[in-house]
C-alpha cells in the first residue's frame, strides 16, 4: 500500500510533465531525435521565451530531456531512446481519433512527412513501412511469432557494413516494433532500426528536408533499396498498399 502509494505519485509526476499542452508539443517536436534550442521550441510552441524556459527546466529535472549548454544557447533533446519510445507510445495511444484523412490534397500524393521521415532515430512514414515489409518478405525479420530479426537478418546488416553486435549497447532491444500515428502498422525500431537509419543517412540513401524530420529519398537510395531489398524504385510514390 505504502509502496503502491509511492509508485502512484511517481507515475502522476511523470504524467504531469506531459499533461501540459505546451510541454507536450515540445516533446513531440523533439521526437525528430535532434537537439533544439530553447528559443526554437518557444516559437514552435507559441509561448514567450520565459515560459518555455520554465517548461524546459521541469522536463530536464524530470529526466525526460537532456540538456547541453553551448555558449548562449541551451540545447535540449529527449533523454534517451527509452524516453522517446514512451512519448511515441503515448502519442500513438492518443492519436487514433483522426481516423479519416479524407482531404484530397493530402490523400493524393501525400505530404513529404507521410512519405518518409525519422521517428526519433529510425525510419518512419511510408518508407519505414516499405522497408519493414521488405525485410519481412525476405525472411530477415520475423513478425509471425513476435518481432525479431532472424539470423539471416543479422547477416544482412553485416553485409551492409553494419555490425549490430557492436551497436548493441545496454538493455535496448535489437529489434522492436514502433507504431507511429500516420501509418497504422508497426515499423522497425530499436538498435537495428537506428543503425539502418544511420546507415541510410550516412550513405546518402536519403537526406533531411529543411530543419524538420521529413526525409527525401535520393536516386542512390532508390537503387540501394532495390538491390538490397528488392523494393521497386517507384514504390514510395505509389498509393499506400
Amino acid at each position: 500500500m505504502v509502496r503502491d502509494d509511492h509508485a502512484g505519485s511517481a507515475l502522476a509526476a511523470l504524467a504531469a510533465l506531459l499533461a501540459d499542452e505546451t510541454r507536450a508539443a515540445m516533446c513531440l517536436a523533439l521526437l525528430d531525435g535532434r537537439a533544439w534550442t530553447a528559443g526554437e521550441l518557444a516559437r514552435h510552441a507559441g509561448v514567450a521565451p520565459s515560459t518555455a524556459s520554465e517548461h524546459l527546466g521541469r522536463l530536464v529535472a524530470g529526466g525526460l530531456l537532456a540538456e547541453e549548454r553551448q555558449g548562449r544557447h541551451r540545447y535540449v533533446r529527449l533523454a534517451d531512446a527509452r524516453t522517446a519510445q514512451l512519448v511515441e507510445d503515448l502519442a500513438a495511444h492518443a492519436g487514433p481519433p483522426p481516423a479519416a484523412p479524407r482531404t484530397l490534397a493530402q490523400a493524393g500524393a501525400g505530404s513529404a512527412m507521410a512519405r518518409a521521415r525519422t521517428c526519433y532515430d529510425h525510419l518512419a512514414g511510408r518508407l519505414g513501412i516499405l522497408v519493414t515489409d521488405a525485410l519481412t518478405r525476405r525472411g530477415l525479420l520475423d513478425q509471425s511469432n513476435g518481432f525479431a530479426l532472424t539470423d539471416e537478418g543479422v547477416e544482412w546488416f553485416t553485409g551492409l557494413g553494419v555490425d549490430l553486435a557492436a551497436a548493441r549497447t545496454g538493455r535496448r532491444p535489437l529489434a522492436r516494433p514502433c507504431l507511429d500515428w500516420t501509418e497504422r502498422r508497426p515499423h522497425l525500431a530499436g538498435v537495428a532500426g537506428a543503425a539502418l537509419c544511420g546507415h541510410a543517412l550516412a550513405s546518402g540513401w536519403c537526406v533531411r528536408i529543411g530543419s524538420g524530420r521529413a526525409l527525401k529519398l535520393t536516386a542512390r537510395g532508390r537503387t540501394a533499396l532495390h538491390t538490397h531489398l528488392g523494393i521497386a524504385p517507384d514504390a514510395l510514390e505509389a498509393p499506400t498498399a
Copy 2:
C-alpha cells in the same frame, strides 16, 4: 504544424488523466486486470466516494477505463490490454528510482507480491521471470534478436492444450516483453503471456491470494513447472538469481 498542434493537445489530455495522484493510484490498482467497484477504489485511494466518482467519470470518458453497471454497483476495469501496457510502461519508466531494496526483512524471503503476481493478464514477479527464463533456456522463446516465440514454443503451448492461433485476436502481439518495477528484467506478456497465465489459474498451478494481484504457487503448480519447463520445485523460494 496545425496537425502537430492537435496531436499535442491529444497527448496532453491523455497524460493529464494519469497526472493526478489519485487517478494514478486507481489505474495502478486496476493493473491486476480485474474489475473494481467505485467504492473499493475510493477506499484504496483514500478519497471520498464523491471524489472517486468524478475521477472515474473522467477516466472512462478518456477511454482509459471501461465500465459496467450492475445494480447499485459501478464496476470499472482497464479498457483493454493496450491501455494496460501503456500504464505499465509509464509506471516502469517512473519506477526505477527506488533502486535499493536493501531491507533484510524484504530481501530475505521476499513478499508474496514479489514472488508471484499478475501484471494485468499475465504472470509477473519472480515467477514471471522464472518462467520466461525457462522458456528461453529451452529454446521456446528467442530473446537474442528481439522477443519472439520460436516454432517449438508455439508447439509447446499446443502440447499444454492452448491454441495460440485461436487465442490470437486483433493486432495484439503474440509475445512481447513486459518490464515490471520489482524485477528489472522483462517477462513474457502479450497473447502468449495471457494464455499461459489463464492456463495456470485454470489448471490450479496457482491461486489468487485474497483480493489483490498476488499469487500463490500450489503443489500441483510446482510439479507442473518442473515437468513442463524443468524448473526446480524450490526455485521460487531461492534468493533471486
